[in-house]
Subunit: 231 residues, 2 copies
DNA sequence: TTGTGCAATCCTGTATACCGTATCCCTAGA
DNA sequence: TCTAGGGATACGGTATACAGGATTGCACAA
């Protein structure tokens, strides 16, 4: 059309336009993850709508999205409640996550570009810095970002669409359990495996990492349940 | 509480109640799969609403659901269009499907009950009968049912929630390409591997089956594209 | 003939109001 | 203490309105 060579493909006047429903969804998801709405909280459409200064329609649509992401459960005619992840839910989450993250890392190994890898390297450096300065929050965020970026390296849109919400729930879970562990060595090894270009090596590391991660979360949950049952 | 032993957990006056949005979603999905709305068709809220005799709200919610299932693509302020699966989409579909179906079969091998296996056996018999009588439609349905049931054998709710929509798209694709192949031997072998209780064996067969399936679809698509480009 | 600009139109996104009905909760009564 | 009744609450759905981006078609200019 009228676009000059070198310019982005389309005109995109409104590239950053986001429907209200999506902004509401993001805000509610954030509140759930940040424990503003702890598990068990009822999410009442009218309350949220007036609180956010929007009508019920976008709130309803946001709620359906959060339901399909697994953050809330809707019982027909009773409304939506923030889910409490059961032990079985956690196991299933790790089952599926392992299968998909192994695939993501395999594909990342064969498809990642130099620029991709540089970006991940930067994120890892940020994590190391956060660890050194003892900033647990920043470390957690950097670790989350690491997984998000690995996922992008797969250059597989469907995989990203499927796995991303699961990772969201995983991150939520890790924040609930305190996420008090050092994954940097693990992540570095995984990153190197991917950088090597060997799909098999990357897969092996991804599987190992997922399993270690699962074990840690299992232990944390077991501890939490013990202290809860003694109350 | 007040319920007597042996009675269902709750009174369940309305056990089969389904929100309108879900029924609309199912109906629209059916129409897409049955090619009533071929790829590229614009889905206009008002039209569908008046056609189905409902208001716009449930139609909108159904559309979002179909979007997250990957049947339609919506561009903000421009509306929803039935997607046309690109070659890359198909590859990604098979990538993720393979990873998840391998997991499903592994878990099915260790978790399936006798009753589960009997049920699948019945479905396989149905497929054989359909093949013998040359009923292609029934054969296709039976093959779809086979995969749905294997998935249930995994007794993994999350896995089912994630994989089921992908299988829906896959079945859609197979109907588009004509689904003209005989999978019964393959399915029988997979079924026996699962029945044996060996996760490794089941995984191997699942992987092999997924790859064969992918090859067949690739060939069919290549043929279709050739005949399309010569038009 | 081919393009270009503008106006009319369509449709989405959102708001508002309202209704029926299922569910929940509280209270009064046995 | 338990149960039944009744009101309050909130979901699911309908109807309507409207602003403004997107699309289309047409007239007009090059």
């Amino acid at each position: 059309m009228s676009s000059q060579p070198g310019e982005p493909a389309s005109v995109d006047i409104d590239a950053d336009y986001k429907p209200l429903r999506d902004r509401v969804r993001d805000e509610l998801r954030r509140r759930i993850i940040d424990d503003v709405y702890p598990p068990g909280t009822r999410l009442v459409e009218n309350e949220l709508a007036s609180q956010l200064g929007v009508s019920r329609v976008p709130v309803r649509e946001a709620m359906r999205a959060l339901e399909s992401e697994g953050f809330v459960k809707t019982v027909p005619r009773r409304g939506a409640v923030v889910v409490e992840l059961s032990a079985q839910d956690v196991e299933e989450l790790f089952d599926v996550r392992e299968a998909l993250e192994v695939l993501a890392c395999q594909q990342a190994a064969t498809r990642a570009t130099k620029a991709d890898l540089r970006r991940v390297g930067t994120t890892l450096a940020r994590a190391r810095k956060a660890l050194a300065s003892g900033d647990r929050l920043a470390l957690g965020r950097a670790n989350e970002a690491f997984h998000d970026e690995i996922l992008k390296l797969s250059h597989n849109d469907l995989l990203q669409n499927v796995l991303h919400p699961l990772q969201g729930r995983l991150h939520w879970l890790l924040r609930q359990t305190g996420d008090p562990y050092d994954l940097i060595e693990e992540h570095t090894a995984l990153f190197e495996a991917i950088s090597s270009g060997s799909a098999d090596l990357a897969a092996e590391h991804a599987r190992q990492h997922a399993r270690l991660n699962r074990e840690i979360v299992r232990r944390l949950l077991a501890e939490r349940n013990q202290s809860a049952s003694s109350a």
